[in-house]
Amino acid sequence: MKVIPFPGGGSSSPDDVWLAELEAALTGDGEGAIADSWRELRHDVRALAPPMDPEFERQLGERIAEREARSTPKQPHRRVGWLRSPGRPAAAIAAGLTALAVAIAIADSSPSGPPREAVPAPAVSNAGRAGPEPPRTEMGVARAAKNATAEGSASASAGAASNAPAPGGPAAAPGRVQQLAASITLAATPSAVQETADRVSRLAVSDGGFVQSSHVQVQQPGASEANLDLSLPSAKLSGALASLGQLAPVRAESQSLQDITNTYDAARQRLSDVTAERQALLRALSRATSEGQIDSLRERISQNRGAIAQARSALQTVSQHASTAEVEVTVTGDAHTASEGLTLHRGLHDAVRVLVVTLVILLIAAAILVPLALLLAALATARRMWLRYQRERALDTR
């Protein structure tokens, strides 16, 4: 019986030399009896295992050869083949998120120009009038013009005006006499403030209105500004505002409506009263017999004539308020405003907005996906640890 010499010298603790000798012996690098004994032991251990069954080896080899044949490179579908690539889903998700961000950014941003100010409610609400009213808005102003005309008022010239509000402006109540007002702020380059103010004036005149006041301040360099108070026919207010918006980008716009029906009715009643008084005085004068009565009546008629003129003037004023709209136009010009109209700036603005929305979406997605991924990773780790524990336990129980 040959005694198998085992290396190691009986030492109970492994060291690097021992392991190195073992490695060298098993890889064929080691020489000598010790290395030969290691190799012999390995050969004996390996020889203990019976050989693979030829039939099983053949079948397994055939299966692997079949897999090899099946794994020849295939041309993926040109359109959807990339979806099967394991590295592409992340890129597809990123592209989808970006497209979603762009869509949200586009939908969220206004199509052009700055957001408009909220339109305030009418200064005076409908009050003090009872009973059925004419169905159309123009009826109120038309009635005022008709009454003024019948009473010889100069407001007849403005009687055809309508106080129909601009689309999106304050709604006019039917049968009411209302006064419209608006303010608009236009943004222009500093050098174009004067030109824009001139165009605003020409626009007011062309629409049948006029410039009540104008103040243009031009500073080089610096911020320039022009303030114009326009008086426009109420019927052309909406069109005028739209035309003003085409002169320069609109920074702000507001419209207001004030109900002056009571004032109008009071002025009209006053004119009616003094007119009736005149008729009465004239009838009394025709019946007067004494010189004293005639002189007294003529004096009162003279006074009444002044009252009638005063009443007509008041009614005319009120009618003008109803038929005209006051528009405050502010033209601002500064560097920021000037650059706002540039395509490059708008492009950068939109790009920044898209990036911000993208980041927000990614943040929200991360807030959802990261905890989920951590949970799944923890579960996977726990499963692996449990599986490993079970496998090691199988070794211990043998």
Binding site: F6, G8, L26, T27, L48, P51, I64, D396
Partner: protein, 194 residues
């Protein structure tokens, strides 16, 4: 004992590992890996499980799992051979856990056949001694010896397959081989006394 298959060269088991390109495991390399390591995996499995059918199942399952995970092969974590034996180890332990069966050796027939050859008698006796000593080892230590000799893994690869540190793997390997040596010496003494 003649060993079929391509793994007879015990000193050059890393040809496939060296030829394997970084990254994915190609079908050609996979087929070569089977030709080189198939018998070793089967030998490891049958030595650990002691059941031929179970060893064949484990061998087939190991190659199946390796094929499925070939795209995730990371050469920084070891050679394809080491990876294959790590998979085979897991499959063998799963088999052990599932079948709850005490491993046994089916070497009696082969040894009996070899005894007919007088020239191989010395080898047969020595292998019988080794077999007895190996069978006497605890399963955990026997597994280390089998992985080391059948898998022909380096200590670092052995550590990865076992899921422990390299120093711990060295300690475990040293302890297992020491017990194997002691078992062989004890068996030889008993035979001499007998």
């Amino acid at each position: 004992m003649s060993r079929p298959g391509p793994s007879s060269d015990e000193h050059a088991p890393r040809a496939v590992a060296a030829a394997a390109a970084p990254g994915a495991l190609s079908a050609e390399v996979f087929a070569a890996l089977f030709r080189e390591c198939g018998a070793d995996v089967h030998g490891y499995a049958i030595s650990l499980l002691g059941d031929r059918s179970a060893a064949e199942d484990v061998t087939a399952l190991a190659f199946e799992r390796l094929y499925r995970s070939r795209s995730r092969l990371d050469h920084r974590r070891g050679t394809p051979r080491a990876w294959l034996f790590a998979i085979a180890r897991n499959a063998a332990l799963d088999e052990l856990r599932r079948r709850r069966r005490q491993p046994r050796y089916e070497l009696e027939d082969e040894l009996a056949a070899d005894r007919d050859c007088l020239e191989a008698l010395e080898h047969v006796e020595r292998r019988a001694t080794v077999r007895a000593a190996l069978a006497a080892l605890p399963l955990r230590e026997r597994e280390v010896v089998l992985l080391k000799f059948h898998g022909q893994l380096s200590n670092s690869e052995l550590a990865r397959a076992l899921g422990i540190s390299e120093s711990n793997a060295g300690t475990r390997l040293h302890r297992a081989l020491t017990r194997l040596r002691e078992g062989c010496l004890q068996a030889e003494r008993q035979e001499e006394i007998a």
